[in-house]
Amino acid sequence: MSRVTPASIPDTQVMDRRNLDWYVDKAVQVLVFVGGVSAILFIIGIFVFITKEGFGFLTTTFDAQEFFTSPRWRPTSEHNPTYGALALIVGTASVTGLAMLVAVPFSLGAAIYIGEFATGKTREALKVLVELLAAIPSVVWGFIGLSMMNPLIIKLFNVPVGLNVLNAGVILGLMAAPIMTTIAEDSLKAVPDGYREAAEALGATRWQVIFKVVLPAAKNGLVAAVLLGVGRGFGETMAVLMASGHSINLPTSIFDSVRALTATIAAELGETAVGSDHYRALFTLGIFLFLITFLINLTADLVVRGIRKK
């Protein structure tokens, strides 16, 4: 009886059979892998496409010095077309810069209020509201810029045109603020309550808790929120096209009309002959935009990664 009989040894061979769970697990792994790879392939495909279209221009007519330093974007000139993108770059940058001046205080303020002060129903209501704002299509924002902001700016500041850097910047700022608020609020929520409790126990006031403990702890998420807002500003087309005045200009004040990179592509691409210099120059603008937004998103991503490491 005390002898160990062979039957009492568990039959590991039988246990180790591949059952349904095992197959399902493998199938899901394969599906997810295919999904991930195809997403990457699409992105590479898009990049290859715009590069290919712009390539001929880049290697022949393209003059880097003119592109980056000349404000003269005259692709349709009959005798001497010039492809200076400086005014467009400055246009996009000035609108985005102003937009961030508007959006950063708005969205951080809203995130702090929703995350740290609002409770219960108010908080839920505000979060829904912010998400609703984020869902407003950009053409609607453009419409607001065109039909409401335009006369308002003319009247308030007594300027001839209300479609300018100010208009587009404010519109773009309001447009980017909701998504920035959401991300900033998420990063505030990720700060453990224990930190707040510990600071409160030290006699910190609510503002001290927020400024000395919560914001520093959420720093990376907040930076990521701002960078994503910047990325959004650079990439936005419709609202900027409608609100900026769309005229080629090196702005000297916020009341000057400007033209954005994106808006230029959107407005001109339909009127060019496929394969012409103009067509390819527009694709070069696209490559440039792609690289900038890629860099911004990459930075945001690296910053967010920084959070997780901690």
Partner: protein, 269 residues
């Protein structure tokens, strides 16, 4: 050996019973959204004693500490009734609760190293109080870390992140932080939950020293820890104060309630 312990404990009893009252708690009742967590507790805590609070989970120990430093303000639904008089002044009459909290150090069950450097962790409270100069902060930081028995381990890495220290070190960092505001009342809530036995012993030694300078309320779920440290001990059970007495009496069987005897002897439930 046991005899010696008993007699020294008896001596402290006498010292404590003549010491002035630090916190006078009368008919304290605490509820959360109408659900009572602590019912009609009356007791006093004397100056320079270690006042132990023992009791199983859910007995209301943490709630008691929260009421002392007015953490109820930030907990929606938490309601405190009765009176808590600290140094002759009702804590709920303080208009500036921040000033009140600065006099009370708190150590939570799980170590909370704030995500800033070791130095900044300890310097936070003095900075909040307006001390900005490095020359004044340095000695405070060093002294608090010394008192928390952590200085030797971190003096070369004061700039590294506080949240990267080991659990036991972070708990001592928390104690150093609590001391940095020069409190005269120190509340500890099950501080040894996430700390190894050796570190626990070191912290216990620290507490015995600190007792000379301040009053300590020690909530613990380790009955033996209360026995080792507390001058007097209160036994809480499901929101009720079963009894409060000199620790030596409780552990030598001089109890008024059989439930206390059962709990301290470890045969409960």
């Amino acid at each position: 050996m046991v005899e010696a312990d008993r007699s020294s404990a008896a001596e402290t009893d006498e010292v404590v019973s003549t010491a002035p009252v630090k916190v006078d708690v009368r008919n304290l009742t605490i509820s959360y959204s109408g659900k009572t967590a602590l019912r009609d507790v009356t007791l006093d805590i004397r100056q320079n004693e270690i006042f132990g609070i023992i009791g199983p989970a859910n007995s209301g120990k943490t709630s008691f500490l929260r009421a002392l430093n007015r953490m109820d303000l930030f907990i929606p639904g938490m309601k405190v009734d009765g009176s808590i008089v600290l140094d002759g002044r009702e804590v709920r009459k303080w208009r500036n609760v921040y000033a009140l909290r600065r006099r009370i150090g708190v150590v939570f069950p799980l170590p909370v190293g704030l995500p800033m450097s070791v130095y900044d962790n300890v310097a936070l409270a003095p900075r909040l109080a307006g001390i900005k100069k490095r020359a004044r902060l340095d000695p405070i930081v060093e002294r608090c870390l010394q008192r928390a028995a952590l200085w030797d381990e971190v003096k070369d890495r004061l700039d590294s992140l506080g949240s990267l220290l080991s659990g036991g070190q972070q708990q001592r960092l928390t104690i150093a932080r609590a001391l940095s505001q020069e409190p005269d009342l120190l509340l500890l809530d099950e501080f040894s939950i996430a700390v190894d036995p050796v570190t626990t012993m070191r912290i216990e030694e620290v507490l015995k020293e600190l007792k000379q300078e301040l009053t300590i309320v020690l909530v613990t779920n380790l009955v033996q820890q209360a026995r080792r440290l507390a001058d007097r001990t209160a036994f809480f059970l499901t929101g009720e104060l079963v009894e409060v007495a000199a620790t030596s009496a409780l552990f030598s069987g001089e109890v008024n309630d059989e439930r206390t005897r059962a709990y301290v002897e470890g045969r409960f439930g």
